[in-house]
């Protein structure tokens, strides 16, 4: 099985194809609805707000060659103030479709982890950057939390625990490539095949 560690190179991304199983390693960042809206409205389409300069600079560095994980985890705060991930499966990615292409190109993301797949604009961005869409197993929250070895930092906790941007170090996080950098989408293939079958069932 392929193993990849962040930061990931363009060559590594181009070598991946739809259907490949991959174990991800290294530091990644969670981000879902509020985070994507914030990144596009306050970092990409406008100058970073004065009070957010450290956050913006950190994010640029963390995401260059990096990965965003669409995830709203259950997190426990330990007695010493540090955090542990308790449950951390993927959330539905398609809600970020309006933001994702911009976020991929601005930060030079190499991958997005989520579930359910994304649309044509993200597929195009994956081809251009290059980047890929990694599908995690929806609902496998305890198992994925076990692969999170360290919560390095948290940003935007004011968005609430699920929406905050958690910087985590993962080991052998299991995913499947369902959109590659060669404009292939497993989601499109399954949609078309099942559409044909549906037509025959309700003709």
């Amino acid at each position: 099985m392929n193993k990849l560690t962040t930061p990931i190179s363009d060559e590594e991304i181009r070598s991946l194809s739809v259907g490949d199983s991959v174990l991800l390693n290294g530091v990644i960042v969670t981000g879902r609805d509020a985070a994507h809206k914030f990144m596009v409205e306050h970092i990409i389409n406008a100058p970073c707000p004065e009070e957010e300069l450290v956050f913006c600079a950190d994010l640029e560095q963390l995401l260059d060659g990096g990965i965003i994980y669409h995830c709203g985890p259950v997190v426990k705060q330990n007695e010493d103030g540090s955090y542990s991930f308790v449950a951390a499966g993927p959330t539905t990615s398609i809600r970020e479709e309006v933001y994702q292409p911009t976020v991929i190109s601005h930060f030079n993301l190499k991958g997005v982890i989520g579930k359910g797949g994304m649309g044509q604009n993200t597929l195009k961005a994956c081809e251009n950057q290059p980047a890929v869409y990694f599908h995690a197993i929806g609902g496998a929250a305890t198992l994925i939390a076990q692969s999170v070895k360290e919560v390095v930092k948290v940003y935007k906790l004011e968005f609430g625990v699920p929406e905050a941007m958690w910087v985590i170090r993962v080991e052998d996080f299991p995913v499947v490539v369902t959109m590659d950098s060669h404009s292939n989408s497993l989601h499109d293939q399954v949609f078309e095949a099942s559409k044909e079958k549906l037509s025959s069932l309700i003709k």
Partner: protein, 298 residues
């Protein structure tokens, strides 16, 4: 303690929530195991089901949530005459708050106007609680944790539907339910259990469709026509080949449960409650036996 209306069930509700969030019902687990055997060895579907089953075991062992989206907690409470539903509702709200502190639940109640998360799963009409008075001298509680991803692909049809050739009959119901499964693709975290309601108004129809999800997979519909339709849709939905997580494969749904209710002459609604593979239901029976509290979660 001799009376059901004098007891505080907060601790029992906390245990009920823990069970639902961390312990997948056996019928679901068995169905997932069978599905894995049926998929092609080494396929993405096989791998997805393997990961799911591993996760189910780990969650049970560690007493941590099966899925991080612990969803909307939906409580159906059956109670005898004389028990205060207001007191029970307070205990349930207290229990979900403590369960959130214990990390059995993710803070999931967001103020729709301000966007602020209440932090403890308590909010306006949150969690969902329905009370039903009954003749038994015990309290029975069903709990379902309904995740947001699969809720977003749940849907409602108004028949007739010209595009799908769906008229106001069971053939029409079959057509729209198959369309709903196709529309959902992998976004609802299949393999799914489908709760289907025929009739009612828009609100009661959605409610009825969700209530079907409390039925166990082996449960056979008492109505022969609906039982036959459940089996037919089950077979045909799996022919669609969408597979676990939408990766393609033989397992798209694990069960179909259909209920019907009266409707207005003008309306014919069909609601489809799509439930992810993490069909987290739990229940408890509470009674007083010889003056002592008896609680059963089996």
């Amino acid at each position: 303690m001799t009376n059901l209306n004098q007891i505080d069930l907060t601790d029992q509700f906390i245990e009920l929530v823990r069970q639902a969030a961390t312990n997948l019902p056996r019928d679901m687990e068995n169905a997932l195991s069978k599905a894995k055997e049926n998929e092609d060895h080494g396929s993405a579907a096989d791998g997805a089901l393997g990961t799911i089953l591993l996760n189910v075991n780990m969650a049970r062992e560690h007493s941590t949530p099966i899925c991080q989206d612990t969803g909307t907690p939906i409580f159906e409470v059956y109670y005898p005459l004389g028990v205060s539903t207001r007191a029970l509702a307070d205990q349930i709200r207290q229990a979900v708050s403590v369960s959130t502190e214990n990390s059995y639940l993710r803070p999931n109640a967001v103020d729709s106007l301000t966007g602020k998360n209440s932090g403890n799963n308590v909010g306006e009409d949150f969690p969902t609680i329905h009370f039903h008075e009954w003749d038994e001298n015990q309290i029975h509680v069903d709990l379902l944790l309904k995740g947001g991803g699969c809720e977003n692909v749940s849907t409602q049809y108004k028949l007739p539907d010209g595009n799908l050739g769906a008229g106001r009959d069971l053939e029409g119901v079959r057509r729209v339910v198959l369309d709903a499964v196709h529309q959902a693709q992998g976004r609802g975290c299949g393999p799914a259990v489908l709760g289907v309601a025929i009739g009612g108004d828009r609100g009661s129809s959605y409610l009825k469709s969700k209530q079907q999800l409390f039925r166990e997979l082996e449960d056979e519909n008492e109505n022969e026509e609906l039982a036959a339709l459940e089996n037919q849709i089950y077979e045909e939905a799996n022919e669609l080949g969408i597979g676990p997580m939408g990766f393609g494969g033989k397992t798209t749904v694990l069960g179909v449960k259909i209920g019907a209710q009266h409707r207005l002459p003008a309306s014919y609604f069909v609601s489809v409650a799509y439930m992810c593979w993490a069909n987290r239901r739990a229940h408890m029976d509470v009674s007083i036996e010889n003056g002592a509290l008896e609680v059963n979660y089996e």
